[in-house]
């Protein structure tokens, strides 16, 4: 057993609600990767070819679970949490079941690609590359949500939006039980309620955008990394690596994953678990690289494709424009969450050091937001018109900050999960 200096309680029981929620994320990821694998190998999407591997994995998993039923618990849940989260979930479901995708980006890209995948039973490369000005747009975001929509269409569904309500619920459940292992019931309930009622999370659970899935995979991927550091459960470690990999199959441009990898590298060196660095890296890159290779091969196959050459230089003036721009945008959207972050930084000196692995990673991710915006500012004149986009991209900070507040300032060593 490695370093346990953080002093967290260890848990051995399997929480069935958390397990189902994690499974939803894993199965969604597996389905999209499998469809992608079929597509790049020129196999057509048919119900048996898309369902067989899913069942091949799910059935043994259920059997294993059945064998381990003695350590499975169905945890008691706070009634307030059930009412609030359940109410929001049902409201969200009422919107997503009734209304088809209708938001701008969903129609222009995500669902458009999905319908083409469904019609052609393939990755529709000839369709997505037939109009030169839109090739880089069509391949600007990886296929994750489009393939998930296509999966619903292939199974006979006509409206895939419910998957966003489900990921909302899965997100809140995973977050709650991660907190419940670290803090008291009342704090984990309160903090989870803050996350569950965050307007951007509720809105994103009703629209076919990538933001909620991305926040789930990146946010929970990071939190499960922290859980691994606390509990040293290899399952948390694996989930973290898989989730982080899947986040890049939703948005490949944002480089937040670099900081998680860098962090795993530093931490594993510190605790002398060198193999873990390789394992984490292998899992992550096995998920990330296929899309990058595929996208680049598509670009290479399109004659006369023009991609803007990016440049980098140090411009002091721009730096002083970017910093207030980012802060004002995040502060105006996060409001009290932003205040909480400031308070953590000002008031929690001792905790900042003790829980360096939490605060350090949040700090590094913030660095990415500033660097990314700065990079954008020196390449594009319209950089300061994408404030909303930067805020949506940064949605995953909210669970990280809330988790940090709870764990840093309200630690509880009892195992109450």
């Amino acid at each position: 057993m490695g370093d346990n200096s953080v002093g967290f309680a260890k848990t051995k029981m399997i929480n069935i609600l958390e397990l189902i929620s994690i499974s939803y994320g894993l199965i969604a990821g597996f389905i999209t990767l499998w469809l992608f694998f079929l597509g790049i190998n020129k196999f057509l999407f048919f119900v048996p070819t898309i369902l067989l591997p899913v069942l091949t994995i799910c059935l043994p998993a259920i059997l294993i679970l059945y064998k381990k039923r003695k350590i499975i618990i169905f945890p008691k849940i706070n009634i307030i949490l059930i009412l609030v989260v359940g109410g929001i979930f049902l409201w969200s479901l009422s919107q997503t079941i009734i209304w088809p995708p209708s938001e701008w980006d969903a129609l222009a890209l995500y669902d458009y690609r999905a319908v083409r995948f469904f019609e052609t039973k393939s990755l529709a490369q000839s369709v997505l590359t037939n109009y030169l000005p839109l090739v880089t747009y069509n391949y600007g975001y990886p296929f994750f949500t489009s393939l998930l929509h296509a999966f619903v269409y292939l199974l006979g569904g006509s409206n895939p939006q419910f998957i966003y309500s489900l990921i909302y619920l899965a997100f809140i459940i995973c977050f709650y039980y991660c907190l419940a292992r670290r803090t008291s019931k009342i704090i984990s309930m309160l903090v989870t309620l803050v996350l569950a009622t965050t307007p951007s999370f509720i809105y994103q659970s009703t629209v076919s955008y990538t933001n909620l899935f991305y926040s789930f995979y990146l946010g929970m991927g990071t939190i499960y990394l922290w859980e691994w550091i606390a509990d040293r459960k290899n399952s948390y470690f694996a989930i973290s690596a898989i989730f982080l990999g899947l986040s890049t199959f939703i948005r490949s441009q944002e480089p937040f994953w670099i900081m998680n990898l860098f962090f795993v590298f530093i931490y594993c060196l510190k605790v002398k678990e060198y193999k873990k660095i390789i394992v984490y890296g292998v899992i992550f890159f096995l998920i990330r690289q296929p899309w990058i290779i595929y996208r680049d091969s598509v670009y290479a196959s399109v004659p006369n494709l023009f991609q803007d050459p990016y440049r980098f230089s140090i411009q002091i003036g721009k730096i002083f424009e970017v910093i207030p721009y980012v802060i004002s945008n995040l502060a105006s959207d996060w409001k009290i969450i932003f205040l909480l972050l400031i308070f953590i930084l000002i008031l929690g000196t001792k905790q900042l050091i003790k829980f360096w692995y939490i605060t350090g990673l949040i700090f590094l991710d913030f660095l990415i937001v500033f660097l990314g915006t700065y990079y954008l500012s020196i390449n594009f004149d319209w950089w300061n018109r994408i404030g909303g986009s930067a805020v949506r991209m940064s949605m995953f900070f909210t669970p990280l900050i809330l988790y940090a507040v709870a764990v840093l300032f309200f630690p509880d060593k009892r195992n109450n999960a």
């Binding site: 929001i88 409201w91 009422s94 919107q95 009734i98 209304w99 088809p100 209708s102 701008w104 129609l107 222009a108 890209l109 669902d111 458009y112 319908v115 083409r116 037939n130 109009y131 000005p133 839109l134 747009y137 006509s158 409206n159 309160l190 903090v191 309620l193 803050v194 009622t197 965050t198 307007p199 509720i202 809105y203 009703t206 409001k335 009290i336 969450i337 205040l339 909480l340 308070f343 008031l347 929690g348 507040v405 300032f409 309200f410």
Partner: protein
């Protein structure tokens, strides 16, 4: 009360405030969502196409139906430049969702901006603009250039919306 406790109290207060603020912020949009569902209860069992029309606007959908009716699926259509007053009908990525498999190509405001013959353009939209606002010095009404015409079909009596079937033979 020690220092940590004071910090805890402060943080607890902020968390509760955040929760209340969230609940307050959500109340209106959530109630609106339910109200929209209730007001459109006749649509609940409608097909997705009708529901989508309700969301994106009936007039836009009528125009889409008109274009579909008067063009073949393999047609190439010249559409207005991207920007207001054509936020939807001038945006190839958005508009293609409704008109696929027709190929859409942006023109310029006062000239085709493309070799009509070389690009094998079959139709040019007559597009007043679906939005009241404008940008990039664009004004309502398109096209503002002449094209070799075989047939013009208008959708409305004001002749603000329609489609031009090109006579490319005249360009040869």
């Amino acid at each position: 009360m020690n220092k940590l406790s004071r910090i805890q109290t402060l943080l607890l207060l902020l968390l509760v405030l955040s929760l209340l603020s969230n609940l307050w912020s959500n109340a209106r949009p959530m109630a609106h969502g339910l109200k929209v569902l209730y007001l459109n209860r006749n649509y609940l069992l409608a097909n997705n196409e009708k529901k989508l029309c309700l969301k994106v606007g009936e007039s836009f959908c009528n125009y889409v139906s008109f274009i579909k009716q008067h063009t073949s699926e393999n047609a190439t259509i010249l559409i207005p430049p991207q920007g207001y007053p054509w936020p939807m009908t001038g945006n190839v990525a958005y508009f293609r969702y409704f008109l696929y498999p027709r190929v859409l190509i942006n023109g310029k405001e006062k000239e085709p901006g493309i070799d009509l013959l070389k690009a094998k353009i079959d139709y040019v939209l007559i597009d007043w603009g679906e939005d009241k606002s404008t940008e990039y010095d664009f004004t309502h009404g398109w096209p503002k250039f002449s094209v070799p015409t075989k047939q013009i079909v208008y959708m409305d009596t004001d002749k603000k919306w329609g489609i031009i079937l090109l006579d490319l033979q005249k360009l040869k």
